[in-house]
């Protein structure tokens, strides 16, 4: 019975995530929008196993989670594959009427292309714009990975994360999935050394859920 309930919840969450259904409006008390790059989109895991999808499953009908993650997207660097930066799309995609909380995980694709100060300024601008319309923003630190040799911008990633940790409402994704060599833990690695698998995204979803409930 418990398994059947979980399956129904999973299918419902999947339909919500892909936009084919909405949680019952009367029961929803929180509306979250998850925004960012391929880590938000759920690259590396099967459809329905991104961390926003798994967050939806965890909170059931009490919340509605929308996923506006885009692969190869950047916060401030305008040369990313997605084209539009989150800074330019934030008001339109995230700060929509009814949203209570924005969950933002982005920055990896900006590394090497913009300075740490520019990135931090970008995060602060998102927070300020959200605050102006009464939306709370949570940021996730940038998860560890390296797909290039010789790992060009790892120190910048660490620096960005350290500065993020000094900001309010930050969920430390990195700490959850890093190993002693500073790499993505093998059990959370989708296989490409960059994206997480379903188990990895589950860990992120749980951390977000706990933080939002705190």
């Amino acid at each position: 019975m418990r398994n059947a309930t979980r399956v129904v919840a999973f299918v419902a969450a999947l339909l919500v995530t892909v936009g084919l259904a909405s949680p019952a409006n009367g029961q929803v008390s929180e509306r979250y929008v998850a925004a960012g790059d391929s880590i938000v989109m759920g690259a590396g895991a099967p459809v329905g196993y991104s961390w926003p999808s798994q967050l939806q499953i965890r909170c059931g009908s009490t919340c509605a989670v929308s996923n506006v993650g885009h692969g190869a997207s950047c916060l401030v660097f305008t040369g990313c594959g997605h084209g539009e930066t989150l800074l330019s799309s934030f008001d339109r995609e995230v700060l929509v009427p009814g949203v209570t909380t924005a969950l933002v995980s982005i920055g990896r694709n900006d590394l090497c292309h913009v300075s740490t100060d520019e990135l931090m300024d970008g995060y602060k601008r998102l927070r300020g714009r959200a605050r102006n319309v009464g939306v709370t923003v949570y940021f996730g630190t940038i998860t560890p990975a390296g797909t290039g040799w010789p790992w060009p911008c790892e120190l910048q990633r660490m620096e960005v994360n350290e500065r993020l940790r000094d900001m309010p409402n930050v969920i430390d994704f990195e700490r959850l999935v890093i190993n002693r060599h500073g790499l993505l833990r093998w059990k959370y690695d989708s296989g490409d050394g960059l994206h997480l698998n379903a188990a990895g995204y589950s860990v992120l979803a749980r951390a977000v859920d706990w933080r939002l409930a705190a």
């Binding site: 620096e159 060599h181 500073g182 093998w186 690695d189 050394g193």
Partner: protein, 84 residues
């Protein structure tokens, strides 16, 4: 240098993380894995120096952690390759 030094290091790191005996993997890679590990040690040593020159204690500490971690792994791997 191996065709995929990064992949070799990831695999080695994963084996260390799992607490596995890495001897077979290191033996199969021989001096290639040592070269890759030395590269990582040098890389983080360089980053440590850069951060120290900038008097950035936080980054120096982060880079030092990585330098120490890779140095330990290199030392262990050297013992295997040297047949100790």
């Amino acid at each position: 240098m191996s065709d995929d030094p990064w992949g070799d290091l990831r695999e080695l790191s994963a084996q260390v993380e799992r607490g596995e005996e890495c001897r077979q993997f290191i033996d199969s890679k021989g001096h290639q894995i040592l070269t890759a590990l030395r590269h990582m040690v040098e890389f983080w040593g360089g980053k440590m120096d850069e951060a120290a020159e900038q008097e950035n204690e936080q980054l120096t500490s982060l880079a030092m952690d990585q330098h120490v971690s890779w140095s330990r792994t290199l030392k262990d791997a050297e013992k295997v390759v040297d047949g100790e």
